[in-house]
Structures are given as C-alpha cells and as structure tokens.
C-alpha cells in the first residue's frame, strides 16, 4: 500500500514539475527540452516499479524495472553475444548492403525517365507490403546463420531508401542545373556537386526509416531458425520458459540498439545536411 501512495505522490510531483517547466521562462532552452522527457520517462519507471510492488503483480506477468536491471547486469555476456549476432552481423551488414544497392539502383534509375515512371510507383507500393513475410523463404535459402538475416534486411531496407533517393535526385531545381551547365559541368560533376547534396535530406529520410526496419527484419528472421543465440531466438525461447526478466532485458537491448542506430544516422544527417533549413533551427 505504501508503495502505491509513494508512486502516486511521485507522479503528482513530477507532473507538477513538468507543468512548471513548460510554463517557466526556460521552456525554450536546450536543457528544458531534455529535462522534460527525462522526467517523464523516469516517472514512468518509478510508477511501474511501485505499481508492481504495491499491487504485488506476479513477476511472470510484469517484472519490476529493478529486477530487469539486475538481470541486465548479470547476463551481460549473453546479451552482448546476442547483440553482436543479431544487430551487428544481421541488421548492420544487411543495412549497409541494402543501402548501397538501393543507392546504386536509384542513380541508374535516375538516368532514364522511363524507368523512373515505372519504378517509383512500384517501389512505393512494395514499400507498403508486409515484406517481413519473406523471412521464412530466405532462411530456407541461406541457412540458419546471420547471412539469411542480412538477406531479409537487404530486401526490407532496399525499397524505402531507393524511392527516397530517386525522389531526392529530382530536388535540384532547373535554375541550379542551368547554373551547373554554364559552369560547363558534365553529368558526373553535376551529380556529385549539386544533385547528390541536394538529395541528401531525402536519402536520410529513407535511411532513418530503414534503421527500424533493419532491426525488425533481423529479429523476425530469427523466429524461423537461428543458431542458439541471437536476440530474436533468445526472446522467443525465454518467453516460452516464462523468464520474463530476461525477455525484458533483451527488449531493453533492442530498444537501446534501435535508439543508438537511429541516433547515429540522425547525427550523420546533421553533419551532412548542415545547410538544410530543418537543421539550422
């Protein structure tokens, strides 16, 4: 009971703090923008912990964050092994191959208007399809190792990146192209100095969408067969054994990997497209 009261009081205090923050004169400063979500997230954790303790919820259904954190620090080497197998070997290598292939195809497609007209609608259509479903097929073709996971990731990230790149390459306006012509710049010079930089905001849009898809693809593919390690494998087998603290620890790894992955791409975007209005803020 005490835990429940503590949780509610903490919640009320944090809510008041954030409300005050949103109305204070520092509300547009950088640290307020960071502090508010941190307070919100921290409150969620405290509320979770005190609800689980106060209501005495079975840890099989919902383990408290403290138990998850304990498991996280205990099982560090297992989690690291799974992370390397799924996120680095499966998702990251597939992401790199898929992104490069999509980039290359987009540049080829861009040269022919005919191909553009044909491939853009189809690429948009395919990007909306449930492509994860091909995971069992690719696992059959390429075996249980990380190669099949990378293959699933390649297919999943290809279309969003390609469509965005083709669209981005159209961004440079005729006036700018004319200027390049007056400089006597050929196709490749124009591509490198004008059109690729202009396309970068779009390319990064595709790259950002693809980060999440890459992790999803790598994890789903493990449900259809994997060696006895890997995040998807571990989650499924531990959920079957009802050791939920391990499942949650693995989810925390997945969340962390996803956020860091997304954050890295966002950081690269900021460096590459520093000139874009949305980055100058």
């Amino acid at each position: 009971m005490n835990w429940l009261i503590f949780g509610l009081l903490f919640w009320a205090a944090a809510f008041a703090l954030n409300l005050g923050l949103a109305r204070s004169r520092w509300r547009d400063t950088g640290w307020a923008r960071v502090a508010a979500p941190l307070v919100f997230g921290g409150t969620l954790l405290v509320l979770w912990e005190s609800l689980v303790r106060g209501l005495q919820i079975n840890p099989i259904i919902l383990p408290p964050p403290s138990a998850i954190a304990a498991r996280f620090s205990q099982a560090g080497d297992i989690l690291w092994l799974d992370f390397v197998q799924t996120a680095v070997k499966g998702a990251l290598s597939g992401y790199a191959i898929g992104a490069l292939a999509a980039f290359g195809v987009a540049i080829v497609v861009d040269r022919a208007v005919f191909l553009q007209r044909g491939l853009l609608p189809i690429g948009n259509f395919v990007a909306a399809l449930p492509i994860v479903g091909i995971a069992p097929i690719l696992v059959k073709w390429y075996g249980f190792g990380w190669q099949s996971k990378a293959a699933v990731v390649v297919v999943m990230v290809f279309f969003p990146i390609m469509v965005n790149t083709v669209q981005g390459l159209k961004e440079a306006d005729p006036m700018q192209r004319d200027l390049m012509r007056t400089y006597a710049a050929g196709y490749w010079k124009t591509l490198l100095k004008l059109r690729l930089p202009a396309a970068m905001p779009f390319v990064f849009n595709g790259l950002k969408v693809a980060t999440t898809l890459a992790l999803i693809g790598a994890i789903v593919a493990e449900y259809f067969g994997s060696p006895i390690y890997g995040m998807g494998f571990r989650i499924q087998s531990e959920a079957g054994r009802l050791s939920m603290d391990m499942v949650w620890a693995e989810i925390a790894v997945a969340a962390l990997a996803g956020s860091v992955f997304y954050g890295t791409v966002t950081l690269m975007e900021r460096i590459v497209t520093f000139w874009h209005p949305s980055q100058r803020g």
């Binding site: 059959k140 980060t211 959920a239």
Partner: protein
C-alpha cells in the same frame, strides 16, 4: 496515364526475372534427379521441369497464382484451407489494431498540439518508441495476454498492430493541426470563435489532408503488425500463421500464396483509405 506503359514494362521485367530465377534456382534439383536416373536432359527439358516442381525452391509465378486461385476460389470460405478465411482473420485484427492505433494517435496529437507540457515530455518518447523493434515485444505480449487469461489471440495482435500504426498517424495529425497559419487563427479570433469552434471549424478540417496521407501509411503498418503478431509462437489462424505453417510443415508454395494474399490485402486496404481520402477531400473542396 502516361506512366501506365512504364509501370507495365517494369512489372513485365520483374515477372521475367522471376521466371529466370525460378529456372536457375530449381534446376539443381532437376539435374540431381537426372543424374540419379542416369540421363542427360537437354536445356529445354530442364526449363520445362523447373516450371512445375512440387517443392520448388523458387516457385514460378504461374504456380503461385494457381495455388492462390486454388486456395481462395476452390475452397469453402469457412474451411481452414481457405485463404479467404485466414485473410479475414488477419483483416479483422488489422482493423481493430488500426482503430485502436488511430484513436491513440489522434488523441495524443490533439493533446500535444493543445498542451505544451505534453509536447515537451511525450513527443520525444513517441519518437523513441518507434526505434524499439516491436517484434521484440510481440512474443512477450502474446505470452502475457495468455497468462492474464485472454484466450482470444485478437487482443495481442491488435495491440501490436496498434503500436506500429499509431506513430505515423500521430505525426501526420500534429503536422495537420498545426498547419493553419497565424492569419487564419487570428480570423477565428475576430469571429469571437470559442476554443472548440476553433478546433472543429479550422484546425480539424485543415488537418484532414495530412491525416489521410498518414492513415495510408498507418494501415499498411497495421497489417505488418498483425502478420508479425501471427508469426511467433504457434498461431493457427491468419495469413501470418499460414506463412509459419507453410514454413514448418506444408509445401513451400503455401508461403508464397499467403504472401501474395497478404500483398493483395495490403494493396486493397491502402486503396480503400485512398478512395475515402479522395471522396472526402473532394466534398470538402480540398481536392488537389
């Protein structure tokens, strides 16, 4: 209209590539069989054989279409072998998930636009929530809902698809609700419009074009979520389950036909939302 020809030719190229791939990938089986029988098949014979293998590595398109036809038209709809039945199960969960996700997304969007504290504390977490691979949570949601005593698999599936589709709707709606410019907002003020009137007569209508665009993304994401929810831990019904069963027991062609059915369903769902968008925006005089 002028893009019909390019689209058709790209589709034709894809089908041609598919056939070439089928010949290439299935031929090893043909050659193996021939070696066992001690015969040397000609190229034409190899190609002919790769077109109708029962357990093809890559079934050629006509085989997939035949299987699709067989499992939709030739089976009773209530039969467990009918893809219409499995498609209905998936569609049902997708629509529930979409409704849930849309409600959550719209509700959050309105509160984010109207309350600064929500914008500051919730919006960053909404973005972070999408970097968490939901499939990591799917098996757990299924096990936990089972433990709590919810037998129906609809609930976990709908939750997963709602998780995937609420974000695009949230982002689109926030953008839309903020799209009226200061001039329009001022005009509402000079009309002495109340807060509710400002919302229903200006912000909400202005947000619709954005909302529909993001709903098209959202419903496709909801379908992906449902199928992902059906993949792990032994679901029996639904297109995702069909893919799983085809992978473990049945002939591989079933995976392909289920995939094809899922794609048709995705296209239909996006198409329906697009149609509603066109009709609504036309009646509102916002058609572009």
């Amino acid at each position: 209209m002028k893009s019909i020809l390019p689209i058709l030719s790209v589709v034709a190229a894809i089908i041609a590539l598919w056939y070439a791939g089928a010949v290439w990938m299935n031929s090893s089986w043909t050659l193996e069989q021939a070696q066992r029988a001690g015969t040397k098949p000609s190229l034409a014979e190899i190609i002919a054989d790769t077109m109708h293998q029962e357990r093809a590595v890559l079934p050629p398109p006509h085989q997939v279409v035949a299987e699709l036809w067989d499992s939709t038209v030739n089976k009773r709809i209530s039969s467990k072998r009918s893809l219409v039945f499995h498609g209905w199960v998936t569609l049902h969960a997708t629509l529930w998930g979409f409704a849930l996700g849309a409600a959550v997304g719209m509700g959050l969007a309105v509160s984010i636009v109207y309350f600064r504290v929500m914008d500051m504390s919730v919006m960053p977490w909404a973005i972070i929530s999408q970097t968490v691979p939901i499939v990591a949570i799917a098996p757990m949601i299924i096990v936990v809902t089972n433990l709590i005593g919810i037998e129906d698999r609809l609930v976990p599936k709908a939750m997963i698809s709602a998780y995937l589709c609420f974000f695009p709707i949230l982002v689109g709606m926030v953008k839309g609700l903020r799209s009226p410019d200061a001039m329009q907002l001022d005009l509402m003020k000079t009309y002495n419009a109340s807060g509710a009137q400002g919302f229903f007569k200006l912000r909400l209508p202005a947000s619709l074009p954005y909302l529909f665009t993001s709903m098209k993304i959202g419903i496709a994401a909801a379908l992906v979520g449902t199928i992902v929810g059906e993949l792990p831990t032994g679901a029996l019904r639904g297109l995702g389950a069909r893919i799983l069963v085809g992978d473990q027991f049945g002939p591989p062609i079933r995976i392909w036909s289920a995939l094809m059915a899922a794609s048709i369903l995705a296209a239909a769902l996006v198409g329906v939302v697009g149609l509603i968008q066109r009709v609504t925006l036309k009646r509102m005089g916002m058609a572009r």
